[in-house]
C-alpha cells in the first residue's frame, strides 16, 4: 500500500474538517480581533447533539443518510444559538476592554460549556453511531472511503456557500466593512452588533457541521473533544493568516496533511537504526529488533503546536495574511 498517498487522503479529510473550524476562528478574529477560545466547544456540542439525534433515529427505518442529515439539521440551530448567547453574554460586554479580559471570559465559557456537556452526556467516551455503511474504494495503491469523499465534498460546498455570503450578499458586504473599520462602518448605518452576532452564528453553524463530521469520521465523541480540535483549528487559522478567509481554508488543509504525513513518517525518520553504523552497541541492538524509534506516531498532536509556534515566531502574519503579529 502506498503510505504517502494514503496519508495524503487522510490528511485532506482531516484538513477539510480543520478548515471549517478554522473559518469560524478567522471570521471572528477578522471582525473584532478576538480569539474565540470557546469555538472548539461549539464543535463538541454539535457532535453531541447529532449523536443523540442519530442514536434516537437509528432504528426508525429511515435511510441512514437521511438520519445523519436530520442529526446535522438539529445540531446546526443549537450551535448557532450557543454561538449567539456566547457573544451576547461573554464578549459584547467586554468590547473595548483590555485584550486579556475577553480571552479569560472565553476560557470561562469554554469550561462552562464542557461541564454542561459532561452533565448531559456523561464523562464517558461515547460511540458515535456508525449507521452509514463504509464503502472502500481503491485509488492508486491506497484506499478512500465514501465517508471521506463526503466530508471533503461537503466541506467544499460549505466553504463555497460561505464565500457567496461574504462576497455576494449585503450581509457579507457589511461584515467586510465592519472588519475594515468598526466605527466607520457604524457611521455608515451598519448595525455593528447585529453583524458581529451574525459572524459568531455563521461560524457556529460551520462548527456544528464539522462536529458531525468529526464524530462520523472517528466514531467517537467525548465532552473534551473540542479543546484539542479547537486549538488545532486555531493553529490552522494562524498558519493561513488569521483574519483571512481563504487563508483559513488553506491553513486547515495544510495542517491536516502535515499532521497525517508527520504521523505516518515520524516513526520511520526517527528510527535510530538508520544510523546503526555509528556505534557497535547500537548495531547489536538493531540486529535484534530493527525498531529503535525515538518519536512514534503518538507524537501526532505535537505537530499542530510546532507548526503554530513556528508560524507565530517566523511569520506571524501567516501564509496569506497581511496583519502583523505584533499588534495582537
Amino acid at each position: 500500500m502506498d503510505i504517502f498517498l494514503q496519508q495524503l487522503i487522510n490528511g485532506l479529510t482531516l484538513g477539510s474538517i480543520y478548515a471549517m473550524v478554522a473559518l469560524g476562528y478567522t471570521m471572528v478574529y477578522g471582525i473584532i480581533q478576538l480569539i474565540n477560545f470557546a469555538h472548539g466547544e461549539v464543535v463538541m456540542i454539535g457532535a453531541m447533539i447529532a449523536l443523540s439525534v442519530i442514536a434516537a433515529l437509528a432504528k426508525s427505518g429511515l435511510h441512514p443518510v437521511l438520519v445523519v442529515a436530520i442529526g446535522t439539521a438539529c445540531a446546526v440551530p443549537v450551535c448557532m444559538a450557543v454561538g449567539y448567547v456566547m457573544e451576547r453574554v461573554a464578549y459584547r460586554p467586554l468590547r473595548g476592554a483590555p485584550r486579556l479580559a475577553p480571552l479569560i471570559t472565553a476560557i470561562g465559557i469554554s469550561i462552562v460549556l464542557q461541564h454542561l456537556a459532561l452533565m448531559i452526556w456523561s464523562r464517558n467516551n461515547l460511540a458515535f453511531p456508525q449507521i452509514i455503511r463504509t464503502e472502500t474504494y481503491p485509488i492508486g495503491g491506497a484506499t478512500i472511503t465514501n465517508v471521506q469523499i463526503a466530508i471533503v465534498l461537503i466541506a467544499l460546498a460549505m466553504m463555497a456557500g460561505l464565500a457567496l455570503i461574504v462576497y455576494r450578499t449585503r450581509l457579507g458586504t457589511a461584515m467586510r466593512a465592519t472588519a475594515q473599520n468598526l466605527q466607520v462602518a457604524g457611521l455608515m448605518g451598519i448595525d455593528i452588533n447585529r453583524i458581529i452576532a451574525a459572524t459568531f452564528v455563521i461560524g457556529a453553524a460551520l462548527a456544528a457541521v464539522a462536529g458531525v463530521m468529526v464524530g462520523t469520521y472517528y466514531g467517537i465523541a467525548h465532552y473534551t473533544m473540542g479543546s484539542l480540535l479547537g486549538l488545532k483549528a486555531f493553529s490552522a487559522a494562524v498558519l493561513g493568516g488569521i483574519g483571512n478567509l481563504p487563508g483559513a481554508a488553506l491553513g486547515g488543509v495544510l495542517l491536516g496533511v502535515v499532521e497525517a504525513l508527520g504521523a505516518g513518517y515520524i516513526g520511520d525518520i526517527t528510527n535510530l537504526c538508520h544510523f546503526a553504523g555509528v556505534s557497535e552497541a547500537l548495531e547489536r541492538r538493531c540486529s535484534e529488533d530493527p525498531h529503535l524509534v525515538l518519536f512514534g506516531s503518538n507524537y501526532q498532536d505535537v505537530f499542530a503546536f510546532l507548526v503554530l509556534i513556528a508560524v507565530l515566531v517566523l511569520r506571524p502574519s501567516g501564509l496569506l495574511g497581511e496583519r502583523v503579529g505584533d499588534r495582537a
Binding site: 467586554l94 479580559a101 476560557i107 469550561i111 493553529s235 506571524p316
Partner: protein
C-alpha cells in the same frame, strides 16, 4: 501636621497586632485542622502549593502582563526533576536541598526557552503559544518511556523520596513538646516557611526597580523601551523567575505526594492557577494569595457540602461536586472579568487605572 506622626503609629500598631494574631493562627492551624480530619491538613498543603504557583505566575501575568497559559509545564518540570533525582526509578537519591534547586534551575531554563522565541508576541498570540508549549511538555512526558524509559509514560513515577532535613524525616510522625507532629503537619510548616519567603520576595519585587520595569512593559512596551529599559532582558527575567517559582513548587509537590504522573499537569491546572491570579487581583501579591486560598478551599468545601445537600433534597446525587466546582469556576471567570476586571483585591495601580480610564 501634628497628628501626622501619630496616625501612622496607631496604624502600624494595628498592623503589628494583626500580624501577631495571623501568625498565631497560622501556627495553630494544622492542629485545629487535625481535629477536623487529617485530610484537611493535606488540603491546606495543596492550597499552599497553589499559592506558590499563583505567586510565580503573578510575576509573568500580573507584573509583566505576559499571559501564560502553559505555566503548569514549569511545575511539571520541577516535579519530574525532583522525582527523577530522588526515587528508585534511576536509583538516584539526591537530598532535598540539591534536588529542588536543580529542578528550579531546569524550570528556569525552560522559562527562557519559552520566552526567547516569543519575545515579540503579545497578548492572545502569546497565550496560545504558551498553551501549545504546555501541551508539548505534557505530551512529551507522557511518551518519553520509549525507546529509553525516562518518564515512565502515563504510569508516572512512584516511591519518590520524602523530604529529609537534618534529623527530621517528613514521612514519619514524631512527638515534640507533647504534641504529635504527623507527616502532613510537618510539611505544612515547611510549606508555610517557603510561602512566607516567596511572599516576601513577591512584595519586595513589586516595588523594586525590576518590578517597576515590568509594570512599564505591561503598560506600554514601546514607551518602556524608549525610557531605556532593556525589554528583552526584563521579559526573559519575568519568564525565568516565574518558572523558577513553579519549579520549586513542583519539586515540593513531588516530594509530598510521593507519586507523579502527566495527568497532574494538564491544561485545566494551568487555567486554574491563572484563575487564582485573575480572581485575586493581577499584580497584587496579597490579592493573588487570597485568590489561591479561595479557589483551593471553596471547591473542597463544596465537595463536603454538595453531596449531603443533594442526597437530602433529591435522595441521590444528581450533579457531581467536581462538575459544580468547574461550572462555578467558569462562571466566576466570566463574571469577574465583566464586573470586577481588576480582581477581588486589585493592586493600587490597577485600581487607579480603572478609576481614571
Amino acid at each position: 501636621m501634628n497628628t501626622g506622626s501619630a496616625r501612622p503609629m496607631r496604624h502600624s500598631a494595628a498592623i503589628w497586632g494583626g500580624t501577631v494574631l495571623l501568625a498565631v493562627a497560622l501556627i495553630a492551624l494544622p492542629f485545629a485542622l487535625t481535629a477536623v480530619g487529617t485530610a484537611w491538613v493535606r488540603i491546606t498543603n495543596l492550597a499552599i502549593l497553589f499559592v506558590l504557583l499563583s505567586l510565580g505566575l503573578n510575576i509573568v501575568v500580573g507584573f509583566a502582563g505576559l499571559l501564560d497559559l502553559g505555566y503548569i509545564a514549569f511545575y511539571a518540570v520541577g516535579a519530574y526533576a525532583y522525582a527523577l533525582l530522588a526515587s528508585p526509578h534511576f536509583g538516584v537519591h539526591l537530598p532535598f536541598w540539591i534536588a529542588v534547586p536543580i529542578g528550579a534551575a531546569i524550570a528556569a531554563v525552560f522559562g527562557i526557552l519559552l520566552g526567547a522565541p516569543t519575545l515579540k508576541l503579545r497578548g492572545d498570540y502569546l497565550a496560545i503559544v504558551t498553551l501549545g508549549f504546555g501541551e508539548i511538555v505534557r505530551i512529551i512526558l507522557n511518551n518519553l518511556s520509549q525507546p529509553i524509559n525516562i518518564t515512565n509514560g502515563p504510569q508516572g513515577i512512584t516511591l519518590i523520596d520524602p523530604i529529609r532535613l537534618g534529623g527530621i524525616d517528613f514521612a514519619k510522625t514524631e512527638a515534640f513538646l507533647g504534641l504529635a507532629f504527623s507527616g502532613p503537619v510537618k510539611y505544612y510548616y515547611l510549606l508555610l516557611a517557603v510561602m512566607l519567603a516567596v511572599i516576601f520576595i513577591g512584595v519586595r519585587l513589586q516595588n523594586s526597580r525590576i518590578g517597576r520595569a515590568w509594570e512599564a512593559i505591561r503598560e506600554d512596551e514601546i514607551a518602556a523601551r524608549s525610557m531605556g529599559i532593556n525589554t528583552a532582558r526584563i521579559k526573559l527575567l519575568a519568564f525565568a523567575m516565574g518558572a523558577t517559582f513553579g519549579g520549586i513548587a513542583g519539586g515540593m509537590f513531588s516530594a509530598i505526594q510521593g507519586f507523579i504522573s502527566p495527568e497532574s499537569f494538564v491544561l485545566v491546572e494551568s487555567i486554574m492557577v491563572l484563575s487564582m491570579v485573575v480572581l485575586g487581583g493581577m499584580g497584587n501579591v496579597w490579592g493573588v494569595v487570597l485568590g489561591a486560598v479561595l479557589l483551593s478551599f471553596v471547591p473542597e468545601l463544596l465537595r463536603y457540602t454538595v453531596e449531603p445537600v443533594q442526597r437530602t433534597l433529591f435522595g441521590r446525587m444528581l450533579i457531581e461536586p467536581e462538575v459544580i466546582r468547574m461550572l462555578l469556576f467558569g462562571l466566576a471567570l466570566v463574571l469577574i472579568m465583566i464586573f470586577r476586571p481588576a480582581g477581588i483585591w486589585p493592586s493600587a495601580v490597577r485600581k487607579r487605572e480603572l478609576a481614571h480610564p
